[in-house]
Subunit: 487 residues, 3 copies
């Protein structure tokens, strides 16, 4: 209750006359674009990039530093991080480069460009599941079949349903809306603007800002997914709404569970008084309950600046169990690129249909324990030692029980396949298959997220045990009915 509202506090400190100069090129960009796209420029003017030079950023004490580069090229040091600094950082070899009123411009700034100042974040992110989200889906034939089956149209010819594989545009706005598309340059196109016709690169699978986007320069990830342009704000990234764009029910209800948890309640009721901009982030002083970033990403310290947790952009690095079942919950993959995982049946899955984890590519028990301890240490900033320990013991029990249920529904599915009541050639298209899939993809997952973050509703009536406990009997009833119809 003693906090001064953060936005107000900052407004007393920063004022336009303190702003650093723009480079000549950026000034020229801004002069024109503040007329043709005024929202972009106005948004940027409120950003830290407009207020702080790399030189000043480098001069901060280490704990307060927001950039991880040891050095920044000389010509960038004393100017704001403006339009040209990012949109022309590496034009020498960029497919999305184009000539624009005398300047070489790259349409899509990529992690490579951000890494001029933020190389550690780029490297960590490249190792994460999120950074590899495009290929993890596209390069896995089983997942690709799921995507195509789910998103494709169907038409009726005589009595037969003909399925049509999903179009790229539909894939891009559904699965690849979050996972990220592969953007390529397909020649140039002419665009009519208020400033006359201009030639720009013709981008495929665009617009897109998914977390694992493959950029025209081949780099992976879209920093703007969580630090949306053009304010690139840490305040935005630290609030759960950002993660909550994708981590949503029914398959990944992390945000939904968080909202109904005590942590989420405190964020919703009191978060407006918290300081989401502070670096380092002081537990209890800057905020009183964690957001997603607190436990999974941010540099945390005590009010006296003692370290609690290091900053990371590999958001799974403090996680040991992968709650998201494929189809069983399993140890986290060693690397965020999971395309090479193979189960004992040579399927591109981290577990077999009997629940056995892949022999290679998943973390071992020792690493799991190390990660669990690191997460518990974060909890202990606000909770007693035995509180945190008991909490995760409970989660491990839930993982085991929900995996048992996946085993049961998978056995029922296998029997239906064996009996010729469904066709395993495409395991994703028939009603009984959909019922089976929802048992692990929706319900078991919901229960695990509910356990991990304390959301009783998602453990119970809302996509939890209430739903999961219905599946085996419904599958039995469907099986009996399909058998009868077959006779």
């Amino acid at each position: 209750m003693l906090l001064l509202a953060p936005a107000l506090a900052l407004s007393l400190v920063l004022s336009p006359q303190d702003d650093p100069p723009l480079s000549d090129a950026s000034q020229e960009c801004a002069d024109c674009h503040s007329v043709v796209h005024p929202g972009i420029v106005a948004d940027w003017r409120k950003s830290r990039h407009a207020h702080v030079t790399p030189k000043d950023a480098l001069a901060k004490p280490e704990l307060e530093r927001r950039i991880s580069a040891g050095n920044v090229p000389e010509h960038r040091l004393a100017v704001a991080v403006g339009c040209y600094e990012c949109h022309a950082a590496h034009t020498e070899d960029r497919p999305d480069r184009f000539e624009h009123f005398g300047y070489a411009i790259q349409t899509i700034p990529s992690p490579k460009d951000c890494a001029v100042c933020h190389p550690a974040e780029r490297d960590q992110y490249a190792h994460s599941k999120m950074g590899n989200a495009h290929g993890n889906l596209r390069d896995n034939p089983l997942y690709t079949l799921l995507v195509e089956t789910s998103l494709g149209t169907q038409s009726l010819v005589d009595d037969t349903l003909n399925g049509h594989a999903a179009t790229r545009t539909t894939e891009n706005e559904a699965c690849y809306g979050c996972h990220g598309t592969r953007i390529e340059v397909d020649g140039m196109r002419t665009v009519a603007t208020d400033a006359g016709d201009i030639e720009v690169p013709n981008l495929t699978n665009w617009p897109n800002h998914g977390v694992g986007r493959i950029n025209p320069d081949g780099s992976k990830g879209s920093c703007t997914s969580c630090h949306p342009r053009h304010s690139f704000s840490i305040e935005v990234a630290r609030q759960p709404y950002t993660c909550g764009q994708c981590h949503l029910e029914p398959d990944v209800p992390a945000f939904n569970v968080y909202k109904e948890s005590k942590h989420g309640n405190l964020f919703s009721t009191a978060g407006k008084h918290w300081d989401f901009d502070a670096v380092p982030w002081h537990v209890g002083r800057d905020f009183q309950a964690p957001t997603c970033a607190t436990c999974h990403a941010s540099l945390l310290v005590t009010p006296e600046d003692d370290l609690i947790a290091e900053r990371t952009h590999d958001f799974g690095s403090r996680l040991w169990v992968r709650l998201f079942g494929l189809p069983y919950a399993h140890p986290q993959p060693v690397h965020g690129d999971t395309t090479s995982l193979r189960n004992a049946d040579e399927k591109p899955l981290p577990t077999t249909f009997a629940g056995v984890p892949a022999a290679k590519g998943l973390i071992d028990a020792q690493e799991a324990l190390t990660r669990r301890r690191a997460m518990e240490r974060t909890c202990q900033a606000c909770h007693g030692t035995s509180y945190a320990g008991s909490f995760f013991d409970k989660l491990e029990a839930t993982v085991a029980e929900t995996n048992t249920m996946t085993e049961t529904t998978t056995q029922l599915m296998q029997r239906a396949w064996s009996a010729g009541l469904a066709d395993p050639a495409n395991p994703f298209d028939e009603p009984i298959e959909r019922t089976w899939i929802e048992s692990w993809l929706f319900y078991a997952n919901s229960i695990r997220y509910a356990s991990a973050m304390s959301g009783p509703d998602y453990a119970g009536f809302k996509n939890g045990w209430w739903k999961l406990s219905q599946v085996p009997r419904r599958m039995q009833e469907l099986t009996r009915m399909l058998s009868a119809l077959k006779r």
Copy 2:
């Protein structure tokens, strides 16, 4: 980050001693009602109506004006817009008029009363689908059958389910809770109050604040739906929660999609710093991401006051495709009153069951293009020209693909009707009919809203393609089962 919190800013400018005088009548209202209904009066005291006279409002530069009347009657000019100014504006011919401690009072101020100062808004709204939402439902026999079938009770007599048409009270709190009821005066009633018994008009279908309410004076609409009494705030109307009272999943998930979009994320994380009260509304300066009002209603300008979009209260006027399928997505109706639309089969629907749009009453391709360009111009305040264009190309593809799916499920439904497996006399009551209805009313609609505003979850697993792609096979399975039971 440089913004001063808007509420605070205003509190520095306005203070009670600056408030204009109340008319004698309003003063008398307030004296008494601040005791018997203190919340109403206190709410009004915080409103602009309490702080600004019509005279001052008329004196503003045109771009800053919040009233559209060229003139306001002389006796209203120098007093606050108080109780009596609205509750006695047109008592001469009002069915809801009653005598109240020496004054003639109208119970329900209507758009006619608001139009004393806001005539352009009244006229635009009267042309909108929202302003006509009551009759569009009530005066369409097909939709009325849907309402009655869905909301009615059922009782079991022997082995027969008897359906009972929904009562008016249930209709009023479900469908007509949003669409608006028809309020009529049915004599007078005596109400016991702290001030003794008083006689008031006995209102039918009341309370109700649906957007298309038919008021006792015959006017359409309830301005308080979006500018809730008694603060009548533009801040409220511009925030998505207001639209989100009705534009909700599963049939119209506009608010749900917005919340999980990047625009919604920015509103949720940073909206507390934005100025929702500014007129005109400056893109990038007053706000950094759009709300519903930004794209569909508000007067938008650049930070330098250059016009981006005119204000409108016909909220569909920048829309070209009607995403809400009946049963197919189709060109927007020319007028918000859709009761006269007829498809080629003479049904009161904008499209046939084969997907052909009505020959009359829908906008043509030229008008569609004009509207799309107007919307793109709004996008371009913050997005590049090719970005906005590609975005809506993607939407058009999604409209076509979801319409294909509606065609498939409708064909399956027609076959079931032809085979006598369901009775088309009431197409809304049997399980297989409900499955068909949900394919277009819930799932196809969700996918289109997800496409229009970038909500990948609603395009995919959450009421999107995952659900839609299940319907044809489920309908086939139901058909086989019903055939078997019939034999």
Copy 3:
């Protein structure tokens, strides 16, 4: 719009140098724990407990008092309410007591401890359904069967599904996550901490903060459920997110309905300007639309300090109908402990399967009217007399109509049981039984909450009449199918 942001206002009044002294013991706690659990201590430092002594609290005018004790023990009067004041209030007979660096400490402060200053709240809460939420579930054999059936795992042996009763850990994170667990001390355990090994009580069914938690000292309830530690804030308890942790769809969608209501819209759009800390709470001045607490708990006054409603922590005390059907909506129970309720069929339910309320233990018509009038008086702070009356007439009609539907689906269920198509020994496990349960537990309940707080979507397409009206025909279809399979 004239409000000063409350957080800011308070920050001008309170500053650390004004803080009262800590007791020597609490100072010692804080010195150590601010290092090992810094978040807890920092959170507490922002609390009222850190800023105001009991002596100062007692000196407030009665209407402004936040404590209900007439006296507080002498030694507590002049110090802050710190760690030791609550964690050692009643160690003389506490099972969860342990020796900790020379002090006797109780792990879990309970309502008994809070009652040193807040006895009226403890007493009211002990009478409420929330305070008795653990036993109301655990001590009712029918509800316990529902819990065990819903949350247990199932395994396949040959062709038989074997059900396994839910484990305690799963129960604790689902149903008892909200209802509260029974926490007992099972010896001591050694915990490795940064300060070396320490011995602490080994708590069963922990962690848990459900509303009806049975504490080691036998007291009922967890004050921290709604006043989460360690800021114990009234601001948090008064915001709907707190109630919204448990009162959620699909079974109790109070929070969901509130959010889409006009009241919820106003809270979401304007609540950031409201004063959630004021005692008493001034209608229209401190806030402009009600939250859950306004209507169900808080001390409400007019802007001139005239009483509108007394404070209560028996949150059902202004409620007359229990909307939550078991299986029918029915008069509220006389006491929050409902374990002794028996219907005419001697089942532990408040109504029979035919809808007849229990003869004993439910409030009578006179008490129902008294409560309805008390609630209407709250509404009338902002709404006209006939508005409030008509509103609740509508609710009563909805209760009757939804009860009719429960009667119909229950009759269909009873016929299926009679025909041997389902086994009533466990009425909670078969698909047709789940369909029946959802008709009253999810859909009828949703419609009633939608009626009580104006959420048209939940009355209609979203878990409302649209879903409810499908159940009878789906049950008929299932019955026909099960009969055919049996033959």
